[in-house]
C-alpha cells in the first residue's frame, strides 16, 4: 500500500518535477478537451471512421509544410494539414459519387494512400530532419516542457507549445458554444436544418476544418492515431451517464483531467508512452460507464427491462 502511494507521489516529489509534470498534465488536458469536444459531434454524426480517415489524411500536408518551412510552427502546418484533410475528404466524396467504389472502400483507399504519401515524403527527407516517423504515430508529449519559452511583457508565461494548444483549445470551445445550435440540428436532422435555412454543407466542412485543426495541434503530443482515441472515448463514455448533448459536452472537462493525470501516473510507473497511457486511462473509465452507466449501461439495461416488463403487466391488469 505504501509502495502504491509512493509510486503515485513519485512524479511530484521535487519542485522541478512538479513544474515539469504540471506542464505535461496541462498539455494533455487541453489535447483531450479539444479532441473530446470535436469528438462529441464526430461520434453523434457517425463520422468516427471519417474522423480516422481525416486524421491520417492530414499527414502529407503536415510533412509538406514542415519540409517547405523547415519548422513545426503551427501556422503553415495547419494550412498544410487543412488542405490535405479537405483534399482527403473531397477525394473520398469524388470517388464515392463518380466511380463504382462504395463509401468504405473510398475512405480506406484515400486515407491510406495519403498516409503512405506522407510517410514516403518524410522518409525521403528524414536524414535532414529530426522528425521520426514513429513520432507521428504516438507523439511525444513528454517533451512539452522543452518547447521554447515565451515571455509576455517581461514576465515568464509558459512555453510555445502550451500557448499553441491553448489557443486551439479555446477556439474549439468557442466554436462549439457559438455554433452549438447549428451543429446540433445538422447532426440530428438534416431536413430540419434545411427547413431552418442552415447551410448544411458549410457546417460539415467547418467541422472537418476544426477536426484538422485539432489533429494538427495534437499530433506532436499524441500522434495521429491516438487522436482518434481522444476523440471517441469522452463522448462514448459520457453517453452512458447522461442523456442530453450539453451534459455530454460538459463531461469532457472532468474526463480530460482524469485522462491526463492518470495517464501521466501510469506512464511514470510502467514506463509507457504518455499518450498511449492516456488512452488506456480512457478505457479504464469507459468500462464501468459502459457496464454500469445509468443511461443504457449493459447491466442497468437488463434491470430496466425487467422493471418495464413488470410495470407493463401491472398496467395491463
Amino acid at each position: 500500500m505504501l509502495d502504491f502511494a509512493e509510486a503515485l507521489l513519485d512524479p511530484w516529489s521535487t519542485r522541478e518535477q512538479v513544474i515539469w509534470n504540471l506542464q505535461i498534465v496541462f498539455m494533455g488536458m487541453m489535447v483531450s478537451l479539444s479532441c473530446g469536444l470535436v469528438g462529441c459531434f464526430v461520434v453523434v454524426r457517425r463520422m468516427a471512421l471519417l474522423g480516422d480517415a481525416v486524421s491520417h489524411g492530414v499527414l502529407p500536408g503536415i510533412v509538406t509544410a514542415y519540409l517547405i518551412t523547415d519548422s513545426l510552427s503551427i501556422g503553415p502546418v495547419w494550412i498544410g494539414a487543412c488542405l490535405a484533410g479537405l483534399g482527403c475528404g473531397a477525394s473520398i466524396e469524388w470517388l464515392r459519387t463518380k466511380t463504382p467504389l462504395r463509401e468504405d472502400a473510398a475512405m480506406g483507399l484515400t486515407f491510406t494512400s495519403f498516409f503512405a504519401l506522407g510517410i514516403v515524403l518524410l522518409s525521403l527527407e528524414a536524414g535532414a530532419t529530426h522528425l521520426d516517423p514513429a513520432c507521428f504515430l504516438y507523439g511525444e508529449i513528454g517533451l512539452t516542457p522543452l518547447s521554447p519559452k515565451l515571455e509576455l511583457w517581461g514576465l515568464p508565461s509558459g512555453n510555445q507549445a502550451l500557448w499553441n494548444m491553448g489557443v486551439v483549445c479555446l477556439t474549439t470551445m468557442i466554436s462549439v458554444i457559438v455554433f452549438y445550435r447549428f451543429l446540433l440540428v445538422t447532426s440530428f436532422d438534416c431536413s430540419l436544418a434545411r427547413s431552418l435555412g442552415m447551410p448544411v454543407i458549410w457546417i460539415q466542412y467547418g467541422l472537418m476544418l476544426l477536426l484538422a485543426l485539432v489533429v494538427v495541434a495534437s499530433f506532436e503530443s499524441v500522434g495521429v492515431i491516438l487522436v482518434l482515441a481522444m476523440m471517441i472515448l469522452p463522448p462514448v463514455s459520457s453517453a452512458f451517464l447522461f442523456h442530453r448533448l450539453p451534459s455530454i459536452l460538459m463531461c469532457c472537462l472532468p474526463l480530460s483531467i482524469f485522462y491526463s493525470v492518470a495517464g501521466l501516473q501510469l506512464a511514470y510507473s510502467m514506463n509507457f508512452p504518455i499518450s498511449a497511457s492516456m488512452a488506456l486511462a480512457g478505457i479504464v473509465i469507459f468500462l464501468p460507464c459502459c457496464l454500469l452507466g445509468p443511461n443504457g449501461g449493459v447491466l442497468t439495461n437488463s434491470k430496466k427491462l425487467k422493471t418495464r416488463k413488470s410495470s407493463r403487466d401491472l398496467s395491463a391488469n
Binding site: T112, A116, N271, L280
Partner: protein
C-alpha cells in the same frame, strides 16, 4: 471457378508443392553494396540471381497476391474499414506473443496477433449488440484502444533485456530488410489456405455476401462464412505485417481489389485481377524500396497500388474516365448528325415526298440554323455517306445563280426514318401509357429517340398494337418503310 472437383484438387496440389519449393530458399544477408550505381542495382534486382533479392521479391509478390485475393471479398462485403480496425487490433497480440516466446518466433507471434484481432472483433460485436453504441464508434474505439495497448506493451518490451533487438517497431511501417525464408512460410501457408477456401466455398461466399437474408433462408450458415472471412483476413494481415506494417496493411486489402472492380463485374475475374494487381504492386514497390535505401517498403507498395488504381480509373478502355469522355464527345457528334438526318426527313415529308431531293436552304430553315452551319452539317453527312449534294442551275427569275439540292443515300434514309419512328413512337407511348399531355412529350422524345434500342421499340409496338400515327397525327414509319430505302408512291398514298 466452375471447375470439376478433380481439377480443383490438382491445382491445390500444385500450389502446395510450389509453396514447399519456396520455403527451401536459403536466407542471406542483403550485402551492403558500396556500389551506388543505379543501373547495376536495378540489374541486380531484376535478374533475381541474388538469393536475398529472391526472398524479398517473392515475399512482396506473395503478400500482394494474398492481400489482393482477400481484398476481393473485403471490398465486395464492405469490410474495408473493418480490415483497418483488425490490422490495428493485432498489435497487442504481437507484443504478448513476443513476451511469451522471448524471441521473434513467427508462429507464436502470428497466433498472438490473430487472437488479439479476434478479441477486438468480439468486443465490437458485443458493444453493438448490448449497448446503444453505433458500429463506427465501436470500431474506432477498438482500433485506437488496442493500438494504444499495443504501443504500451511494445515500448515496455523494448526496455526489457532482450527486447531492444526485437525490432518490434518495424511492425509499424514494415521493412524488407531481414526478411528470411522462414518469414515466407506463413505467407505460403496463408496463400494456400485462401485459395483452398475460395475454391471450395466459391458459390457460398458469393451468395452470402450478395444477399445474406436469402442465403440464410436456403440454409447457408452465413455467420460461419463471415467468421471464415474474418479468420482469413486476420491470417492475411498477420502474415503481411512484417513487410507492410500495421498501419498500411489494410490498404493492400482494399486498393488492388478496388482496381479490379473497375475492370470487371464478375467475382472470379475480380479475384484473379486483384491478385495480379497486388503482385504487381508488391514487386514494383519492392524494387523501388530496394533502390531507395531509406524508403520503408509498406508505404511504397501502397503508393504503387494507388498509382495502378488511378491508371485504370483514367485510362481503362471500357470504363475509364478519359475514354468515356471521348465516347461522350463522339456520341454528341452522332446525335448532331442524327438530328440533321431527322430534319431532312421532315423537309421531305413537308413536301409530301414528291421528290427525292430538297434544297439546302429548306433544311437551313427547318433547323433554324445559318447557311454556314448547314453547310458544315451537310458536309458531315456527305463524309459519312448519308447524303449527296448537287448543284442545279435555277430558273431565270430566281436571284441565286444555282441551288444546292441534297438527297439522302439509302443508309442515310434508314437512320432518318428510324429516328422519326423512334420519336413519334415514344411520343405516343408517353401519351397513351404514361399519362403525358400531348404538348409535353416533344422534349423527352428528342432525347430518347437517340438511345432507345430496337428491342424496346418492338416492346412498345406490341404494347401499342402497331400504331400508325403519333399523338399529333403524323404517320409513324414502319419497319417496311425503313427497309425499303425510299418511300414509294403507295406509301405516300396511304399516309
Amino acid at each position: 471457378m466452375f471447375l470439376p472437383i478433380w481439377k480443383k484438387l490438382k491445382y491445390m496440389l500444385l500450389i502446395l508443392v510450389l509453396s514447399k519449393e519456396a520455403s527451401v530458399l536459403k536466407a542471406a544477408q542483403i550485402s551492403s553494396e558500396s556500389d551506388k550505381d543505379w543501373i547495376n542495382q536495378a540489374i541486380r534486382f531484376w535478374t533475381f540471381t541474388d538469393p536475398s533479392i529472391q526472398i524479398i521479391a517473392l515475399g512482396a509478390i506473395l503478400i500482394g497476391i494474398n492481400c489482393g485475393l482477400m481484398g476481393g471479398y473485403v471490398v465486395s462485403r464492405r469490410l474495408s474499414m473493418f480490415g483497418d480496425t483488425l490490422s490495428h487490433a493485432v498489435l497487442p497480440g504481437i507484443a504478448v506473443g513476443f513476451m511469451f516466446s522471448q524471441s521473434k518466433n513467427e508462429a507464436v507471434l502470428m497466433i498472438g496477433a490473430t487472437l488479439s484481432g479476434f478479441l477486438g472483433v468480439g468486443i465490437i460485436s458485443l458493444l453493438k449488440r448490448h449497448t446503444k453504441m453505433k458500429e463506427d464508434s465501436a470500431m474506432g474505439l477498438v482500433l485506437s484502444g488496442f493500438y494504444a495497448l499495443g504501443i504500451c506493451l511494445i515500448t515496455y518490451l523494448q526496455q526489457s533485456p532482450n527486447g531492444g533487438a526485437s525490432g518490434l517497431e518495424s511492425y509499424l511501417f514494415g521493412s524488407l530488410v531481414g526478411l528470411s525464408d522462414r518469414d515466407l512460410v506463413p505467407l505460403c501457408f496463408c496463400l494456400s489456405l485462401i485459395i483452398i477456401c475460395f475454391i471450395l466455398l466459391n458459390k457460398e461466399l458469393l451468395l452470402s455476401g450478395f444477399d445474406p437474408s436469402f442465403a440464410r433462408s436456403v440454409g447457408l450458415p452465413v455467420d460461419i462464412l463471415q467468421f471464415c472471412i474474418w479468420i482469413l483476413m486476420a491470417f492475411c494481415i498477420v502474415s503481411s505485417l512484417q513487410v507492410i506494417g500495421v498501419v498500411l496493411v489494410s490498404a493492400l486489402l482494399i486498393i488492388p481489389a478496388a482496381t479490379a472492380g473497375l475492370l470487371t463485374y464478375r467475382m472470379s475475374q475480380i479475384l484473379v485481377y486483384s491478385g495480379i494487381l497486388g503482385a504487381l504492386s508488391g514487386i514494383v514497390g519492392c524494387f523501388l524500396s530496394f533502390m531507395g535505401e531509406r524508403l520503408p517498403a509498406g508505404p511504397v507498395i501502397v503508393l504503387c497500388s494507388t498509382l495502378l488504381f488511378l491508371a485504370v480509373l483514367f485510362f481503362s478502355p471500357a470504363r475509364g474516365i478519359l475514354p468515356s469522355w471521348f465516347r461522350t464527345r463522339r456520341r454528341g457528334q452522332r446525335i448532331r448528325f442524327e438530328n440533321t438526318l431527322k430534319a431532312c426527313y421532315q423537309v421531305l415529308e413537308s413536301r409530301s415526298f414528291s421528290s427525292q431531293s430538297f434544297p439546302q436552304t429548306a433544311l437551313a430553315q427547318r433547323r433554324g440554323k445559318s447557311d454556314a452551319e448547314i453547310e458544315k452539317e451537310i458536309g458531315v453527312l456527305i463524309r459519312e455517306g448519308y447524303a449527296t449534294r448537287q448543284e442545279f442551275p435555277t430558273e431565270q427569275k430566281s436571284e441565286l445563280p444555282s441551288e444546292t439540292m441534297v438527297s439522302l443515300t439509302p443508309s442515310g434514309w434508314e437512320i432518318a426514318s428510324r429516328m422519326i419512328r423512334n420519336h413519334r413512337l415514344w411520343e405516343l407511348y408517353l401519351t397513351k401509357e404514361a399519362s403525358y399531355a400531348p404538348d409535353h412529350v416533344h422534349d423527352d422524345a428528342e432525347k430518347i429517340e437517340h438511345i432507345i434500342g430496337e428491342k424496346t421499340v418492338r416492346q412498345i409496338e406490341r404494347i401499342l398494337d402497331n400504331p400508325q400515327r403519333d399523338p399529333h397525327g403524323k404517320p409513324i414509319p414502319s419497319q417496311d418503310d425503313i427497309d425499303r430505302g425510299w418511300l414509294s408512291p403507295p406509301l405516300v398514298a396511304d399516309k
